[in-house]
């Protein structure tokens, strides 16, 4: 699973941090940071939820 975040799109809503706290965090400006670029398969559902919840569609998940 590959995670791509488009920082320019991020509005600091924090949805990703709530959905997948092991994978996403917010930097000093409140914008998205990927903590774990190679997440365990068990986190896949949380990551997909984070991508779905992101109000700015700044998270793209590549499942291939």
């Amino acid at each position: 699973m590959r995670i791509v975040v488009e920082i320019d799109q991020c509005v600091g809503g924090g949805q990703c941090v709530m959905a997948a706290p092991d994978v996403f965090d917010q930097d000093d400006d409140g914008l998205v940071v990927v903590l774990d670029g190679d997440p365990a398969p068990g986190l896949a559902d949380d990551i997909r939820l984070a991508a779905r919840l992101c109000p700015a569609r700044a998270i793209v998940v590549d499942d291939t």
Binding site: V11, G12, G14, V17, Q26, L49, R52, P55
Partner: protein, 409 residues
């Protein structure tokens, strides 16, 4: 189209009960999810009621939140007067201005930064519950708790004297009442702006450990935000988390009391509280007048071409009751996956303060369950009065409990 508009349903639609969206939303949903509605000024707009279409509308860069654009739909005369008065914040701006100004504030509302406020909110709720128990049953929980938790939290976060809360509560109430005249909406807003301006001046002179002081130190004098923009934004910060959270607390408690078995589960297992709060946000969907937008470039929604200049209303309360997104959506179920609700909106304008709202709601739900387990309606739960308000709002919530619970605590 205006000549036909008399035959169209009027917006905002009324709710017969506080616990369900207007029946008109379900009718539109059954008819495909999109319908023309008539506004107070005789103009029309598209009402969008389905989950995926609401997200499409709110997330599409071809629609605008800029109230100065021709065709922007306003739910009331007061809202139009206010929005057109130019006293707007990033809430009424499109990118890139929106992005620039919102990013001034995102860091202060980061999830972990807000989580650090949990002990403060807990103390506020505990103090209020202690007072309620000491005074004894019954009590109006709108006045005694729902209004106080957000007001005291905001005073703490922004560094405002607690005594000022009555002033901003009254002004905010006036602004959000749908029947307030345009003149009074503007006057109340100007008073709040003057208050925000005074607050900023005070924090320039006497900085303290609060958000307005930090904004003054971090942002004022830089080239990202002007003083006027900061004044408007501080006005927004004072009000945005007040009436919204107040009404969610009141309606949230009422909803839980109407589902006693789930409330019992919640008391037995407080780890269910965050999920219960998401379900309350979905089920209640307090943003009654809904996010409104205007189309800039034609888009297709639910099989209909929306043309440039058309108004769009994203009925989040309808979307959150869409069975396609939330199976058996009319049922309150704290065990469901509800986190994808759109109670805070969707798109780049989604609520900035939602982590704070969550902390307040979770703290209230957990604390009441623990400290007042016998809490129940003092009157007829089917006779609660809804106010004519921008947010779904209870006029009062009379509750009672076993007086013995106040002893020894």
């Amino acid at each position: 189209m205006t000549d036909l508009s008399d035959a169209l349903p009027a917006f905002p639609m009324t709710r017969p009960t506080p616990f369900d969206p207007p029946p008109g939303y379900a009718a539109v949903r059954d008819a495909g999810g999109l319908a023309r509605v008539r506004l107070w000024d005789g103009r029309t707009a598209w009402l969008v009621t389905n989950y995926e279409q609401v997200r499409s509308l709110l997330g599409d860069p071809r629609i605008s939140v800029d109230r100065r654009r021709e065709g922007f739909p306003f739910p009331t005369p007061g809202r139009e007067a206010l929005e057109r008065s130019g006293k707007t914040t990033f809430v009424g701006m499109d990118p890139p201005d929106h992005t620039r100004l919102r990013r001034v504030f995102t860091k202060y509302f980061a999830v972990k930064r807000i989580e650090a406020l949990r002990p403060v909110v807990q103390r506020i709720v505990d103090d209020l519950v202690t007072d309620l128990l000491a005074a004894g049953p019954p009590a109006d929980f709108v006045a005694a708790l729902a209004g106080e938790v957000p007001a005291r939290t905001i005073c703490h976060v922004l560094g405002m004297p607690l005594a000022d809360r009555a002033r901003f509560q009254a002004l905010d109430h006036e602004r959000n009442t749908l029947t307030t005249s345009p003149e009074n909406v503007i006057r109340a807003t100007n008073e709040m702006l003057a208050y925000a301006d005074e607050l900023i001046t005070r924090k320039q002179r006497e900085p303290a450990d609060d958000l307005v002081s930090r904004l003054v130190a971090d942002q004022l004098g830089g080239d990202t935000i002007s003083r006027e923009e900061l004044v408007a934004a501080v006005r927004l910060l004072i009000t945005a988390g007040h009436e919204t959270t107040t009404n969610m607390i009141g309606l949230g408690i009422a909803t839980l009391l109407r589902h006693p078995e789930q409330l019992r589960e919640l008391r037995a297992d407080p780890s269910l509280v965050p999920a219960a709060v998401e379900e309350l946000l979905r089920y209640i969907s307090i943003f009654h007048i809904s996010p409104t937008r205007v189309v800039v470039e034609p888009i297709d929604i639910a099989g209909q071409r929306l043309e440039a200049g058309d108004g769009g209303i994203a009925a989040v309360a309808g979307a959150n009751r869409d069975d396609a997104a939330f199976p058996d959506a009319a049922t309150f179920d704290l065990h469901r996956e509800a986190r994808h609700h759109v109670a805070f909106g969707y798109g780049v304008h989604q609520c900035l303060g939602q982590p704070l709202a969550r902390v307040e709601l979770q703290t209230v739900v957990e604390t009441l369950g623990r400290r007042i387990p016998s809490l129940r309606f003092a009157g007829d739960p089917d006779a609660l009065e809804i106010r004519e308000y921008a947010f779904l709002s209870l006029a009062a919530l009379p509750l009672t409990w076993d007086a013995a619970e106040g002893e020894g605590r």
